[in-house]
Symmetry: C2
Subunit: 354 residues, 2 copies
């Protein structure tokens, strides 16, 4: 087993004893950090930054130099897999990610092929190796991917955050086509995450950003089922250590019982769920990660400490909690407010780990 | 008690026996209907349409002429109250509603005053009287308002559907200011809805479109509490008949137990909740309204009938269900697909009302 100076995060994901509640932040390497903006400016664009293993390593480590975080997460984008499939990812200034060639015709869908990560995704795998080396055993490295449903929303709609009318029409009128997209994508994600694990990722997370747009029944059929396929196909142990998996459906608070049954080690929670209630609902099947509303980081250190305390108290005594935001940190966050939250987690959580 | 040819909707809201499950559609007078688009074109703009009692009556009745719906809903906008408060509602082409003068300074918030509906909101009250007369006792008329939290999001952010960072920052850093906005707004909404009831509305609905953006604790403090204040202040009986109230928080499926306790007669559900599970959770405290994903109306009549059947079966035997969409009908809906859903509800629900 390779040595890790701080493996609190990995132990918490496996619901093993820890001395305090570990913490990291979704999108912790991001635009709220001036040093990130400087590197991004040097890179020329967000995509250049993702595609350079050297610069991706640099920005991955920036928040760790500032804050005593308990984990690092690969700097990359959730949409790398469909980009590698040839759909043409691009970022229009001031807008979210888009695809140049969304899937619209039946033949385009039938032609979709599983992507080998050693091809068009080699830059991500190289970044994982490089970051792992740079971390030098300080904290664990998290690899990640978008969920098949979430990737498919972008692949079919061409962009995110819409009413999902095109893909939902497909889901109800031509479920066979959508299942084909989801299956090919799930197979690709398995290869992709396993390549990240082999390159040094010590935990993996699946981001299902848009699963919450589905009905309860459609969520199980079109999103959860394919995350289960991925979890089933993941490498479970590496370097003598379990490689834990985290599944996060934003807006999925109603479906935690079903999510807890797919074999993942932990569930990510957004802030709409009371984490204590979530813990009672999932029992000891999974660890929980979350669930601080990132908007609170725009308020005051006093409010931040109070709301941090409320989440820790709601989770209560014992193991199995990784503190995190309920969604990515916003670009408007003063870094000192993020520092206040992290300090509060470390300070206030010890009482629950005696 | 004034005579109603079809009071199925009102009986269902009070969980009284009905012969079938009544159905209406949120935004049933809308852009998916060519006749609506013709009237809107004549009006010149959406706001002109809202502000003309005559044209509002015309479009309110259009879907009833086409479909055997069990209720009519006042044609208006959820943002009429803050507009009457002087914030300057406008609609930029292709975008959602916005306010010219959002609340940003403390003095602007302190100056906010309760709105008398007989002043700047007279056009809505006149529309209610006019529609009620035109309906001529065929089906009940629903009045409505936005919830205080939802209105406040537009009043503070200046627009909807954002990350709500400005208002959430206020919620955590200056809760006193936000509570003042919410209290003045709630008082205004009570007067507004009661004026609608006195003008002829036979049920009222509170639309909390953005409550689902809050954490569980913040939802109770900043949204639910003020909906309770409104429900407490509503006229309960009129023309010898109970005036039922419906509370709908989009994305509020996690909080149904708390919502069922505020004294409303019914809860609206979006499509993320299984309606049978929702019924088990709220028991016999409230009726339930929902919860068909409007995106399904873009698919095929076969899929529409199948999904309608699934919702009816999930709710199961007995009273207390009003069939509806889980959100407003989309402008891309073929009217014949809406007809297929309505027909399926009426045909397939009789077996559950024996």
């Amino acid at each position: 087993m390779t040595h890790l100076k701080n493996d609190t995060f990995l132990r918490a994901l496996l619901r093993q004893p820890t001395e305090y509640t570990p913490v990291w932040m979704m999108r912790q390497a991001g635009r709220y950090l001036p040093e990130y903006n400087a590197t991004r400016k040097r890179a020329g664009s967000f995509l250049n930054l993702c595609k350079s293993p050297e610069l991706a390593t640099e920005v991955t480590l920036q928040p760790l130099a500032r804050f005593p975080l308990d984990a690092a997460i690969l700097f990359s984008d959730i949409l790398t897999v469909p980009d590698a499939m040839g759909l043409g990812l691009y970022f229009a200034e001031g807008e979210g990610p888009k695809f140049e060639r969304p899937l619209r015709e039946e033949w385009e869908i039938r032609d979709l092929a599983v992507t080998d990560p050693s091809g068009n995704l080699k830059y991500v795998i190289d970044a994982v190796s490089s970051i792992r080396k740079a971390l030098d055993g300080s904290v664990p490295l998290i690899g990640f991917s978008g969920s098949p449903w979430t990737l498919a929303t972008y692949m079919v709609e061409g962009q995110g955050g819409t009413d999902f009318l095109t893909i939902k029409k497909m889901a109800y009128a031509r479920p066979d086509l959508l299942h084909h997209i989801l299956d090919v994508t799930a197979q690709s994600v398995i290869l992709y995450l396993n390549a990240q694990i082999e390159a040094g990722a010590q935990a993996v997370m699946i981001f299902d950003s848009w699963g919450g747009a589905l009905s309860h029944a459609a969520y199980k059929e079109f999103s959860l089922r394919y995350m289960q396929q991925i979890v089933d196909g993941l490498i479970k142990e590496r370097e003598g250590r379990r490689v834990p998996s985290i599944v996060f459906t934003k807006g999925g608070g109603l479906w935690l019982e079903a999510m807890a049954d797919i074999g993942a080690d932990a569930l990510g929670l957004d802030w709409t769920v009371d984490i204590g209630e979530a813990r009672r609902r999932v029992g000891d099947k999974v660890a929980l990660q979350g669930n601080f509303d990132p908007a609170i980081l725009l308020s005051t250190p006093e409010a931040i400490e109070r709301e941090t305390a409320a989440i820790l108290a709601s989770y209560g005594n014992g193991n199995g909690h990784v503190f995190n935001l309920g969604h990515g940190i916003t670009q408007h966050t003063p870094p000192e407010n993020a520092a206040a939250m992290i300090e509060a987690v470390h300070k206030l959580s010890r009482q629950y780990h005696i």
